[in-house]
Every structure is written in structure tokens, then in C-alpha cells.
Point group: D2
């Protein structure tokens, strides 16, 4: 039995972790951390857990927690884990961090985009970026996993094979992303009230969203060159789901007769298949079928597909996933499974919920 | 392994059955019946099932189906099963009917409210009304289970203990119910378009909804007298969920000193406890906490609670559940579990999904 | 030109007042009061007003305001106006109060249900309850109008003619109401976040909502006897709209032959017609058509209708309106029109917006 | 008084025309055409118009209609007007066509993208593309106005000044658009049911949407060269609103010292101002403020703004409008106003409705 502790168990990602871990056959949650609700019954905050969770919420004491559990999930604001982590904790418990603290290898980039000082850069080298489909082997041996951001997960998985195979021009990559509102968190802000979000769509963080450098770093590894993208997130009036629509110019292929041509549908499809064919959680949809968030809700799937536009010589790449599952808690569980030698999909086998 | 067939697998209730049965350790779905999509891949209709279901949709051939499966679920329009059922089929496979055909014992009542002739009244006597919490033992031995309607399930469970214990006056019972839109089915009707339902609430079927006699029949068994209610359903702009708000006058209790008094909060609570304390799927909430549909979404739970209003000497009883789970597919699986000796909650243990 | 000032101009009701008054040919808004946004451009808070409103927000100074305007609208928390009002102000400007401070004539009742001391009960006798359809003449001469609550407006108008004509038994009256989320205000509360409200319906304030005594007082005037009701509001995932579903037992009519019978559909309809036939803003729908909130959105209409249920000898009365218009700002403008001799529907002629 | 007839009065755009024309001081609607509801009261289909519209729906007889009205609005399926129009009709009544029949000058392009034969190409030369802000003078003298599509209106207005002023590279233009569901029409299709649209976002018509050539044609006029774009529409779970997020590479400016630099924020802003400063319905938002659909709902405004991204040397242009108003009926009224010498904003002065 893996003993697990959650710091930040009453945020939306933390709540989703509880849901998923309750369905995991080898996990026992020992610690529901929530600074805002200390000593209150967890099920009084997340009433869906009434009679399923008897525990009360506890403080954010990482050191005490490390004594009692095998794995710590931190679903906390940026900066928390970097401030609290030390070798002693890491020597006693593995950590899956759902915040951004250890996702970006370059401290200067982190500090610039997040506007805070990084308090424990010494752990950056060992932290593994937990995008399982790409870094599976490294995750298996990690003590500290940086669970990817929601937008980066969907963005990277949607375009990765094409960058890796050199089918698109990295300098032309534009990612237009749309997210449900749970991604904005459970904090009481006017901007996230029902009446402000409902019947509305807006872009936000234009040309400045913090997930930009995270996406760029991962895509640069794939492209073997620095990648700089336009990334624009949008807020959509729905609870869950992220949809990525990515645009890039296809690189032309030199034919035997010396002429250039676009890669064919089949060639592009083969590139996706090469990387995802054996993946449990990435579904390459049939030709012509667009990913939609409703078809992945509640599950750990990322649905991807693409469309070649010969008129513009561009390709439109699309990805859909549940931001709270594959974009947060589900991927965290997937990482934990890899770290502890569990079946990678243990606790993550539920089909998507529709409608 | 229980071999299962579904007639009407591409409606919302049928789709939910597929979702739940895929997570049931002892069930294999052998037949995805859908007259509208014959020979089309099931996952092309319900894309959430891509790579999870490989089968194509098949016709509604009950006789052929009975040869291949142990249990048949019919999620079909009213009248279908009554027209198609015969002794031969029932002798080979058990049937859980999600339509209304065998819920009402009195043929005349059925024919009046549904406006169609009942084609096989001979099976009405043996059909068991599959409200597991009330008819558990009968369900275990049944060949034919009439799976209760969504509104009746939530309505009956919300008021049952108080009628049974004689705490309320049956003649004063009023049930005001609110349902998400999946209850209206997947048929292409203008009235159910997004723009017609969104940003709207309306009552419908006022003083004439077909679930009225079903609720009345069940409540009459509890009250040991004929119960006649006002029942008003409303359509709410959300996908899933039913909320019942029921009103009744409390019966006063004669005190030792000869004066009458209302039953106390604790006496009412004891009545609920008496019937539901050991129930896995009925959760009596703590005092003062109102049921909300969000807390049961995706699960088989019914959350119930009540509030005594001494000013009016009435009690307000409330119940919330997911209309597609406890109100349809989940209860059907629960019935199947009872009929086949499975653990009653097998396949139904997932916690509610929030948000 | 009527010069108007608004205290609380950045709440939802205040914002709606701005929208309506901008379309009023004889009104000029001179003061946008908002304690939270002092000195900020109003259009930076309500961006829909960009280029339509150039003013900045100002403090809540009633005395200063009374010098500059002819009418003051207070869309403020309970207790504000009662604390700030005095004879000097009232002698200089008329006041339409959208809070509850002057709606209830009995100070003790107000103080019990609102839990605060009433600071200026001396103005209660002169305050006119501004339900125009019922108190039109009194409103015309008023200095201080208590603009009715949203639930009371819809509830009272839905049942008023039947109580007035003695067609229903007041003791049996139950009002089950459903409201969009703008009724909860623009305060930053977790409970009103998009993800908490969306995909959910719940009852709240069960047997204790503050609009209960307000409804009871008005209904008592109609019934000429004390009326005590059950009132249960529900929160619906939509921006605007209130739907009332009210239940009561019909009083039987003695026939010439000595037998009792229920009032007929036509008799009940005649009662509604008697009171509403000439009303611009109350629409009695055709037989069989249920009120729906979508058909009144953005307008000052209240749609009402009813259904007789001979089985239970009850009548179900229904009403739908936009909580921010007829339930708040629209009715306030209607009151102002009456107070200043304007056409009652000036500024209120826009048809409902659908979808 | 302008006498107006509407063909297709029961679609969403037709219904919006009715709403707007009812508020127009110089228009009288003489003909509510709706083939599906002939002889039914219009207000029985659009119940918001109860007591506001007394007429019944009539057939689609253009010739008869031309005798009775001064202007005909056709909110009809593609191909209808092209099949029905003739010189006789045009000589008697002006026509504002909300379909695509006369938007594209090149018949071959129309026939390729719409897949139907154009039955009256002889009227294409005289048809004026009714984007008032750009073709105002031509509209004034037109007999036949092709009312622009919803996506084209928002797309063109969002990028027009920058193409016109040569600030962006037309070959890099990518338009990612998001629309509310009313844009999908009122036809009873499964894909547009509440439960299919709610809690979902998807792209559709990827690299093949019919509005693409319309946008390209208009942008080509602005750029004085053929423009070919990537255009991807998305379906958003809300009733109204279109948001356009457009990406293009900025053209660098040669400095006096021979170096190249990006245009400044102020230079770009000046370009927008040059074209929109005097426009009643295009609002250039303050720096840093993103357009949101909620701020234009119900109004004829288009809100535009932009963000320069020096990292990628791209500019992100954004536009928001109500697809049924400026994207359909509102623009049609604006065109009519111009054609008949009315004030351009007559009937269109209502502020946006929020929330």
C-alpha cells in the first residue's frame, strides 16, 4: 500500500487527486492538507466525499508529512514547494509537485515569468518533468517529479511528433488554447463568478502567460533547437476541458524529381503513430474527426488529431483533454504509478463521462 | 462473467450503461443494440468510447440477443419491450427494463397515462419494481425488473421513511422536481437545442407528467393507503442531476399531557436512519446541509435531507441524484448485481465527479 | 430631464439600472456611486458601458447627492439606507430603495429576519411598497418607494388575483422558486464561482429565506387575513431569470344544486384578467403555455399562467420574469416613472432578448 | 415609415431582426415569412413576442412581398435568394440578404465552397457587401446588399486597419474564431442539443469553413493583393457571441539609422484609430484590455484590441461581437438605415446587456 499525502487537497486539482486516489487499489490517503480548512472535515468542504472520506483537513507541514507517507502531492501556489523542500524530506518521501516550481530548468526564466525568487534551485537538476509519454524512464527513477501544467501537457502532446520528426517549421508555431474554468482555481475572485464567466469567452494573458516558457522548453527538446511560440489561452464557460488548436507551416519534402511537396496525410499520421501507438492515454482519432473536450471528461485521455491545409501549406494540430485529470491530478497519479512500479493506468481506467 | 446486451445503447441512458458496465469486473457487453446506427462503430457515435469499445451497433433483435447473453438491458421507448417480450426470451435471459412498460401494476393506469396499449400485461405480476433499497429481496429472485424512472427514484427515496413511519400527511404531499437535460433524451428536437435550454428554466408536464402514477403507486405501498400527489417537473440548464423538493404537513404527536406537538428534528432523522443507515447509496446529510446535484454527479448516490418548518407545520424533504446513474443506468446495474449475486455496489464505487 | 443618482452602481442591479436609464429619454444619470471603485471609470468596471458612460465612480454620500439629483436609487446592502436617510434628504430628492429596508411595515419582523436593528423606523409609515401593478396610485405620490424584492415580485404577481378573489385557500400556499445567479450579487464568494454553480441546482434558505415575510405581508393584504407560506428558493445555473411555481388548494364553489365543484379554468382565467388585462408588464399566457424565463430576459415583463389539477383539487400557478429587470432595476424605473409623471413604460419598452 | 418584410423570420437571425425592428422608430414589419410555421401566430413560435407581435407567419413569396414592402430581409438558407430573385422584385423593393448568396463576387468560388449552383449571378456585380464601416457610401445607393457573415464581420474588422496600413504580413495571417451556438441555427440536429454542446468546446470546418473565401476576398481588397488565411471556427457553450483571435507577423519598419524595428504600440493604435475613431459601432478598447463577448451582448458593437509580442514579432488582434446583432440582424438594420437615409444607429442604440 502506498501511503499518500496531499498538500492543497481542497483546491480543484487536490479534490481531483482525492477522487482518483480513492479508486486506486494500492493507495491510502493519509493526509488531507488544506491550510484554509484546518480541523474541518474534508467532506464538509467537498461534500461529494461524504461517507467516503472521514478525515479532517490538516496543516501544510511537509516535514511531519514526510514521516507518515511514501509520496507527497503538492497542489499548491507557485513558490510553496520551492520554499519548503529540503533534502531531508526528499530522502523520506517522493514528491509529485503540481505547481510550476520545478518545471523550468532555467532559474532565470522561472523567476522572470513567475515574478518570484526560486528558493531551492539546487533541486532543479534532479527534478524530472513528468510528461510520462515523453519522459517515462526518467520518471521511474525520480524522487521529485514536476507535474506538467495543463496547457503545456495538451500543447506539447498535440505537436510533439511533428516537431520531433521535423515535419513542421518551429518558428511558425502558434498555439491557441481554450480552457474550462476549473483551471482558474477555487479562489473567490469576482472574475470567476458564475455570472462573469457564463455566456462569455475571452483571451487572457495574451503574449505573457506563464505556461509559455514551459511549453517552449519542452518543444525545444523535441525540435533540438530553441522554439519560440505564440501562445494564447482563452477562458470558456464550462467546468472542465482544454482544447488546443495549433498552427504551423509544414516543411516541404524534396521529391526524387527535384520538386518540393507537402508531407501527405499518411506521412503525418505515421509520425503521430510512431510516438503514440502504444500509449494508453493518447488517442489519435480517425481521419477527419476533431478532438472535443466532452469526449475525454473525467478521464486521463488526450485526444489528438490534425488537418493539413494545402491552400496555406499549414497544418492544424488539435488536442483535447480534461485539465483536472491528464492536465493535473490524473497525470500526477500516472507519475506516481511509474515511480512506484504500479501499472501505469492503475486508478486511471475509468472511461470518459458523457454527457 | 455475466454476458450483457443493451437495446438502445446510443441513448443517454444506454451510453451510461456502457460506461458503467465497462468498469464492472464481472460483465462483458456482447451486444450494442441501436436501430439508428446499425453497423456503425459504437465509438463513432459515442466518441468517448474510442479504443475502449470496438463493437459495431446492432439491430434490436431480442430473440437473437437472448441466445447470447445472460442479461438484457432495454433502454428503449415506451411500448417496445411490452411488444417484444415473451416467455421464451425470459426463460433464456433476465431482463432489466429501463422503460416504463412494467413499472405500473395497473394496466389501465399505464394505458391512460402513456396513451398506448400494453401488449404483454401477462408479465406485469412477475415484474419487480427495481428500487433496490425497498425491494431488494424481490429483485434478487426476479427474471424481469422494471427499473424505476428517474423522478420516481429520487421522489420516493426522499419521502419514503416519513410515509412509512406515518410522520406526514399523505394528502398534503407536493413534489417539485428539477432535472438536467439529459433526462429529455438524445432525440433531435428543437425544444432541446442548446440555445433553447441554456439560460432558461421552465415547468413542463404540469399536472400530467407520466411519472406521477408511478410515484403514487410506490408511495401508496409505503403509506398503506392511496396517495395522490402534485408533481411538477422542471427543466434545468445542466446535463445531469435531479433535485426533488417535497412538501408535506407533519402529523402532530399527542404528548402525555394531552397536547399535540410536531415531531422533533431528531425523531424525523431517526426515521430516515431506520431505513437508510445501512444503505450504500443513500446518504442522509448532516443537519442543515441541503442536497445539491453537483455532489452526486457521475455516482449512484442519492443524497437526502429535510428541514422542519414550525411556522407552517410542514416539512421540506429534499433529494439529489444523478438522473443517468441512480436514476437510470446505475440503478440498472445495481439491480443486475442483485439478480446475479454480485456485490450490490460492484461497478458503482466511483466517487462523484466535481466540479 | 430627471436627474438621477445611483448608490451601488457597480452591483448587478445597479449595473442594470444604468443600462435602463441610458435608454430613458427623460433621465440623466448624474452620480455613479460605488464605494469599492471610487474614482475609477465606471466603464472600466462595466466594460459594456465603454464609450457610453464617461463618468467615474463616486462615494456613497447621500446628502451631497440629494443636492444634485431629483431621484436617488439605492442598490445597497440591507441597513445602508435606513442608517443614512433623514428628512432633509427626503425633502430634496425622491428615493427608490432597492434594498429591503422599507419593504416590511413591522419593524420587529424586519429586525428578526434580517438580524439588524432598523435605524429609521420613522419613515416606514410613509414608504410605499412599489409593486406598481398593485400600489400604482400610492406610488405616484410617494417620496420614498421600497422597491420589492425579486422573489416577492414574481411570487405575489403569480398568486395575487386568486387570493384577492378568494379562489384559493391561503393556508395551503406553497411557493417553490428558482432563480438565476445574478440574484446572488457580485460579491466574490466561493459558493458563487462558476464551477460551483454550473452543473448544479440546490435549494437554499429553506424555511428561513428573508423574502418570506415580505411575500407574506403582501399576500395578507390581498387575502385580508394573515397568510403564512412555505417558500423555498433554488439557485439555477443561468445568469438571469426567476421562475415561481406555486401550489394551493382551490376553494370549492357551491353549485345551485347544493353540490360543490372546483372553479373552472375560465373562472380562474377571468380572475387573472380582472387584475392584469390592462397591465403593460404582466402577460397572462394562453391556456396550456407555461411561463419560461427565456421569454422575458432583458425585459420588464412578468409572464404568468396556471394549471388546475382536478385530481388533487389544487391549482399550480406559475410566473417568470427577469430578476434584474422587473425583479429589481426595471421595476425601480417603473416606480420612478410613476413618481415623476412619466409614461409608465418609458425606458422599458425593449422586447425580451432571445436566445 | 419603412415597410419591412422578413423571409425566414423564425430562425435565430430572423427573430433578432424582429426584436430590433420593433425598436426602430421608422419601421413597420408587414410580413413575417416562415415556411415551417405558415398561419401560426408568430408569438407562438417566439413567445418573447407575445402581445408585441400579433401577426401570423406567412409563406416565402418574394414577388407578393415586394408589392407590400420597401425592404425585404432574407434570413434564408444558401441558394434561396439566388433562386428567387429577379429584376422585377429588385425594382420594387430593396433587399438585404443575410445569406451568403451575394457576398462573393467570383461565382466559381461561391459554387466550389457552397457546393451549389448560383442561380442569378447577373446580380453579383451590383450587390454591395454590406460591411458598413468599409463600404458605407456604396451601401447608401444599393438596391441589393449582401449582409456579411458573422465570422467575416468580426474577422475583417479586427484586422482591417493593419492590412490597409501595411503593418502586417498578409501571408502569415491566422484567424482562430470562437462562436456561441446560436450561430448554428435553430434546426433540430443532434449535434446542437444542449447536452452535446454544454461542457464542450470543439473546432469544426477546419481548413474548409465556408466563411474562409468571404474573409479572404474582403482582406484582399484591404491588402491590395490576394490574401490566403488559415481560419478555424470553434463552437462554444454559450448562446451569443463571437470572439476572433488573429495572429500575424508585424512588418518591420526601417529606422533612419538603417536598422529595422517593430511598429510601436502607438503606431498600431493610430492605425486602428484612423479607421474606427468616428465609427459608432467599433470600439477600440484601452491598452491591455481584451475584448470579451459578454461586454457586447445584445448590442451592435464590435470591440477590438491588439497585443504586440516582441518575442515572436507577431501581433495578436482580437475582436468580440454579438453574432446575432453586428454579425447578422443588427448589421442588416444598419445597412437598411444607410439605404433609406435613416440615422445609421437608429434602432441600434441599446447598450449591451450584462450579465
Amino acid at each position: 500500500m502506498i501511503r499518500a499525502g496531499i498538500i492543497g487537497a481542497t483546491g480543484y486539482a487536490g479534490g481531483e487527486l482525492v477522487r482518483l486516489l480513492l479508486g486506486h487499489k494500492d493507495v491510502e490517503i493519509k493526509w488531507y492538507g488544506s491550510r484554509s480548512y484546518i480541523d474541518q472535515a474534508y467532506a464538509s468542504v467537498y461534500q461529494n466525499m461524504f461517507r467516503l472520506v472521514e478525515d479532517v483537513c490538516r496543516d501544510d507541514d511537509l516535514a511531519a508529512l514526510a514521516d507518515q507517507v511514501d509520496v507527497i502531492f503538492t497542489a499548491t501556489p507557485q513558490g510553496f514547494l520551492a520554499s519548503a523542500l529540503n533534502e531531508d524530506i526528499l530522502s523520506r518521501a517522493k514528491v509529485v509537485d503540481l505547481s510550476a516550481d520545478f518545471r523550468i530548468k532555467d532559474v532565470a526564466v522561472y523567476e522572470k515569468w513567475y515574478g518570484i525568487e526560486h528558493k531551492s534551485p539546487q533541486f532543479l537538476p534532479e527534478a524530472v518533468y513528468g510528461l510520462c509519454e515523453i519522459n517515462r524512464e526518467a520518471v521511474k527513477g525520480a524522487r521529485l517529479v514536476a507535474n506538467p501544467g495543463c496547457y503545456p501537457t495538451c500543447s506539447v502532446l498535440s505537436v510533439y511528433p511533428l516537431l520531433k520528426e521535423g515535419l513542421i517549421d518551429p518558428d511558425t508555431l502558434i498555439i491557441d488554447a481554450k480552457s474550462g474554468t476549473s483551471g482558474a482555481g477555487r479562489g473567490a475572485k469576482t472574475a470567476n463568478l458564475f455570472c462573469e464567466v457564463n455566456e462569455n469567452i475571452k483571451a487572457y494573458g495574451v503574449a505573457g502567460h506563464r505556461h509559455t516558457p514551459e511549453i517552449e522548453e519542452q518543444l525545444s527538446y523535441a525540435a533540438l533547437m530553441p522554439v519560440r511560440i505564440s501562445f494564447t489561452p482563452h477562458l470558456v464557460p464550462m467546468n472542465r476541458g482544454i482544447l488546443v488548436t495549433a498552427y504551423a507551416s509544414l516543411k516541404e519534402v524534396r521529391c526524387p524529381d527535384g520538386r518540393d511537396r507537402l508531407p501527405s496525410e499518411e506521412e503525418v499520421r505515421a509520425a503521430y503513430r510512431k510516438y503514440y501507438e502504444k500509449e494508453r492515454f493518447v488517442r489519435l482519432l480517425p481521419p477527419g474527426v476533431c478532438p472535443e473536450t466532452r469526449w475525454v471528461e473525467g478521464s486521463n485521455f488526450v485526444d489528438v488529431n490534425f488537418k493539413i491545409d494545402p491552400r496555406t501549406k499549414r497544418i492544424i494540430m488539435m488536442g483535447a483533454m480534461d485539465n483536472l485529470v491528464k492536465g493535473a491530478a490524473g497525470q500526477a497519479v500516472q507519475n506516481m504509478n511509474l515511480m512506484f512500479g504500479e501499472a501505469e493506468d492503475e486508478g486511471l481506467r475509468m472511461p470518459p463521462l458523457f454527457p
